[in-house]
Symmetry: C2
Subunit: 63 residues, 2 copies
């Protein structure tokens, strides 16, 4: 399946914050992530990079 | 496979601009899309929404 895992990049390290992400909605300096079960996580940050074949969403935190 | 198609939203219509997208890199008001063959497309805009299960990347053009 094509869900992806979301990571926050902090000091060149990737911290995994959510699995099975199915939608990604960046909006006004936040990234809204929703998973397969409809759970949502809101991150203060911007999308840095998305690698679909690696199932990775990399977010740069802004706070 | 998990590639996605990229669309530009214009006047509430979705215009398909690229297939088989594997990486998405938003950077300074542009979205850099790369496909399975390594071809790249650069769009003046921002990511509006990504729906991984529908294999859709929706970009809002800014120019």
């Amino acid at each position: 399946m094509c869900e992806s895992a979301a990571f926050i990049r902090k000091n060149d390290k990737l911290e995994r914050i959510m699995d099975n992400v199915v939608t990604i909605d960046p909006y006004e300096g936040k990234v809204y992530l929703t998973d397969l079960l409809g759970e949502q996580k809101i991150v203060d940050g911007t999308i840095k990079e998305i690698r679909l074949m690696d199932h990775k969403i990399i977010i740069e935190e802004t706070n």
